[in-house]
Amino acid sequence: MSSTSTPDLARATLGVPRLLTGHGPGYGEHLRALGPLPQRAGLVDEIARSGLTGRGGAAFPTSTKLAAMAPRGVVIGNGSEGEPLSAKDELLLHNRPHLVIDGLLATAHALAARRLHLVVGAASEEPVRRALRERGDADAIEVTVAPDRFVGGEASAVVDLLATGRGLPKDHAVRLTTRGLRGRSTLVQNVETLAHIGLIARVGGERWGAVGVPEDRGTRLFSISGDVAHPGVIEAPGGSSLRSLIAPSSPQPVSAVLVGGYHGAWVGRDALERTVGASSKHGAIPAGAGILVVLGDRSCGLRTAAEIAAYLAAESAGQCGPCVNGLPALADLVSRVADGDRDPRLPAQVERMAGLVEGRGACHHPDGTAKMVRSALVAFADDVAAHQHGFCRAAR
């Protein structure tokens, strides 16, 4: 394979950054940097060799999902990005649409898929359509705009959007790869994952995975926001520490970081040296969809957690009883803690309510909300104690 890789190609595909390379979104520039998409035999094996995991949040090994697909299925590129603090999918679709399209086409070809979909947020529709018009090999890709809804990015919700136009999560009776869109074997893959596949298709899994650490190979995009000087998206190799990820954007003292987004976990400043990885193995903090929300030492973490919990309660799709009833109750309890309600039973009640919603929904919305709240009680344990004694440490 090295015979097909020019030094230019190696620089464009193997370094860091490799997704956010800064070149323009046009097809001409894309071809100049990477050359045409090769029709590589054995792409599924190459992806297995790369160790690529899904970048949409669940971090499932991509090759395992591909192996579960039946021929003549459906491949869906998911760039719907329901999470308001995630910016990476939109950035990628604006700056590297052709790399995402390459990944989608290569995956569909390798799986002998019959239908190709690209589901994107409203802001990305135009750049994606423009990119598709620029090339002659992507007519089969159907673009759909996802509603701006938190739970809309979940795989079954994306399939429901294409099937019914509603975009609501569905009960997982069988895997989507077994029976998905209109009963067909369906693969839903985040657009960042597809962009990485676009690179693997050119250089092979081994060379793609040379960057990073064995348990988390390649690079990953992070959307950084919160109390930072420069919010935005960065690209970092696997095995990066939390400190190295947030340092460039947040010079001021940090008290905590919400890793993984609104369904992620709060960690205190003592966790800054830990790595952020695909899973919690090897002591890493799971990256989720790569969202990092930085909390400065002037902000009250409990207040922020309460606001997020209230937002998540309002974003319930309203389908499942325990979520419809439990999330507002949970948000209310957290908000009482944040407001300085000194009822000593409150922390235990928060725990209990988190346990009551966990695992009791068609999608992971209640689980993710419970996880975020629970982690806040741990990361902000000192603040909980302070609030119980009638003061807030963030109020100076």
């Binding site: 309203g318 389908q319 499942c320 009883g321 419809v324 009833n325 507002p328």
Partner: protein, 185 residues
């Protein structure tokens, strides 16, 4: 002998009214999600289902006996297609409408798992139409439909079903309704 068919037709009609009334009441109780004194929720549901099925059986008895009764002058088509009977077309026609609806409700209920909940639920709503039509059929078509005992029985069942329907429309009809927020749809 022919008298016997007439008597059977009349008796089965009265039994039908009672069975359909109890079935309505138990069906409403099932919808509320509440148990009945010592009878658990699933017991209420099973009683509703079995009594409703029993009323289908009695409907069969009712129809067959009146088809065999020469005085009724009933043709098979009049049983299914309403308002074409030689004698008392309106009164008999109401019975045909009730029969059609009842069969639709029964068949969709039995095939509930195959048809899906939505079809089942929509067709099951027909029970609220079917019951008063059946009662009206009893009053108008029955040979003793306007006798005092039958009118008293009709008034009694209508009061019971009416009261249950009023209860159905109140806030605390469904168990837990005042405590919880119902999911959308």
């Amino acid at each position: 002998m022919t008298e016997a068919f007439w008597a059977l037709g009349r008796a089965s009609g009265v039994v039908l009214l009672l069975l359909m009334t109890v079935s309505m009441l138990l069906g409403l109780l099932t919808r509320s999600g509440r148990p009945l004194v010592r009878l658990p929720r699933f017991g209420v549901l099973l009683a509703h289902r079995n009594i409703a099925l029993l009323s289908v059986v009695f409907l069969g008895v009712h129809v067959v006996s009146l088809l065999l009764d020469p005085y009724a002058q009933l043709k098979l088509i009049d049983v299914v297609v309403p308002f074409g009977a030689a004698r008392a077309p309106i009164a008999v026609g109401l019975g045909a409408v009730a029969l059609d609806l009842m069969l639709a409700v029964a068949i969709t209920a039995l095939l509930r798992r195959r048809l899906g909940h939505r079809v089942f639920r929509v067709v099951h709503w027909a029970a609220y139409v079917l019951w008063p039509i059946a009662l009206l059929h009893g009053v108008t078509a029955g040979s003793d439909g306007r006798s005092l005992p039958f009118l008293a029985l009709s008034a009694f069942t209508a009061t019971a079903v009416g009261a249950a329907v009023v209860w159905r429309m109140t806030d605390h009809f469904v168990e837990y309704r005042r405590i919880r927020t119902e999911p959308a749809r």
